[in-house]
Symmetry: C2
Amino acid sequence: MHSFTDLVASFESRFTASLPFPQTPETIYDPCRYLLQLGGKRIRPVLCLMANELFEDISEDAWSAAFGIELLHNFTLIHDDIMDKAPLRRGKPTIHHKYGLTAGILCGDVMCIYAYEELAKIKKSLPQVLQLFNRTAIEICEGQQLDMDFEHRNDVSIGDYIHMITLKTSVLLACSLKMGAIAGGGLGDSANKLYAFGKNMGLAFQLQDDYLDAFGDTVKLGKQNGGDIKANKKTYLLIKALENADVTQKKEIEKLLKEDTESKVPGMLELYSKTKADIQCREAVAQYSKMAFDCLEDVAIPAKRKHPLLELANYLLMREF
Amino acid sequence: MHSFTDLVASFESRFTASLPFPQTPETIYDPCRYLLQLGGKRIRPVLCLMANELFEDISEDAWSAAFGIELLHNFTLIHDDIMDKAPLRRGKPTIHHKYGLTAGILCGDVMCIYAYEELAKIKKSLPQVLQLFNRTAIEICEGQQLDMDFEHRNDVSIGDYIHMITLKTSVLLACSLKMGAIAGGGLGDSANKLYAFGKNMGLAFQLQDDYLDAFGDTVKLGKQNGGDIKANKKTYLLIKALENADVTQKKEIEKLLKEDTESKVPGMLELYSKTKADIQCREAVAQYSKMAFDCLEDVAIPAKRKHPLLELANYLLMREF
């Protein structure tokens, strides 16, 4: 079994050494190479490789699936960054910011299709892998659309929010694991348990991210906290605070949402605490984490083989608050 | 054998009756339905069905391929329209114009993935079909990128231009035919001849389009001519005129390119004629048309079975000048 660190390193060297793009037209492929060589955590392809290694020595099919997943993920990031008007990704200018809107759109498009070119190399269970991948990619688009829609809505419930982050974030982690399992001949039940493990882990991770953005240690995070608050982003914390607030608190929250002052972040944090949204967010993280670990435990494979997956889940979920 | 008109009607009713999108999120799927229900000529899916019918009764696999092709084509139109800042498509507002940039990007993305969902239903020769489709989709992106690049370049040769329109326009016609043939068990040579037929037909069609935009009968075209000239678009005519022009003519062309006057279109048309770019464009149309019909003739299938394909090619290429 390979450790998390080993697999990240193997993926990194194999992936960047064999990027599928030709030299020309360089106006489309240079930006693609630029983004992919900035790195990234490579969590998703590594989950695929780990899930595969539960069942067999990592196969060529699993590598093709892992490449396809990483390309799909980056395609969605390129287009999301356009829609979010994000200037930076991985600490460097985003593609549309550096090369313009046309490059942003076309590089995303071509990267999506290269993802399918990697998948098309899969020999075993191609139709099943393709169906899962398609379903997941559709869900990611739907999740992004819902996220955009939420900006203009004032009636987003916790249920709506969980549904949105499930689609936007969790299903790709889940799909990565299941694709690795299918490529390794993993039986239906194991593959489905791994899928549920990834889905719950993704939810726990996203909710933790919401919490850390508000209450995280600025030094450890490497960025100022309160970014979501400043942007009026509808996070678990804000939705829950509005849900729990009494009439006075609700008015205070709504007043702060209209403000752009120094006191906005500390004011909102105080309201998150007063309404107990902070505690409930931490409880939700713990609850989804527990469900994730329970699902992993249920996979009918000797416990020691699951060690790398546990290690990765701990890395993602046990970050200090 | 079904006629062109029959197949367009069958495709239209089957496709619009079974669009693959769910009801929600309506913010992503309403614009998709809007565009697809505006119609379009449906040339590409019909080519796929016709090529399939050369070899067998039209199969479910061929229908899946035809659906996938039409979805891919519309995905590229949605994103091209954003890049071209086009307000209208099929006489109605484009998606990004009617619903905004986010909808334009995401509807394109999700439509591309639904194209793959249709393909994934194919039972026979899925890996071959998928590889051809991927290769073609990549080429279309490259063609669009080159087209965008050409706007800022002053050294585009006829060879560059033919390469660009091959990628942007012709390969999808070629791919549509070859996919229909592969789905029908068409042998390699027949499938490749059909591919070449489509490629040459696409080139002839695009060059004819360039010619008609400049010299076409305004009444028959249903639009003012000279649109490409007004937009300084690098067409076969402009590139060829610059190539053929003597020093004085070249200066006149360059002067007109900087103008935005009433006399720009008639002035440029006169120069296209003086430099014989007009005649050479018509000759190129005739030459690619001949190559197309020769390729179709070479397909080892009784001539009468090819009648619908001939009918469609004639419809596309024999438009009055």
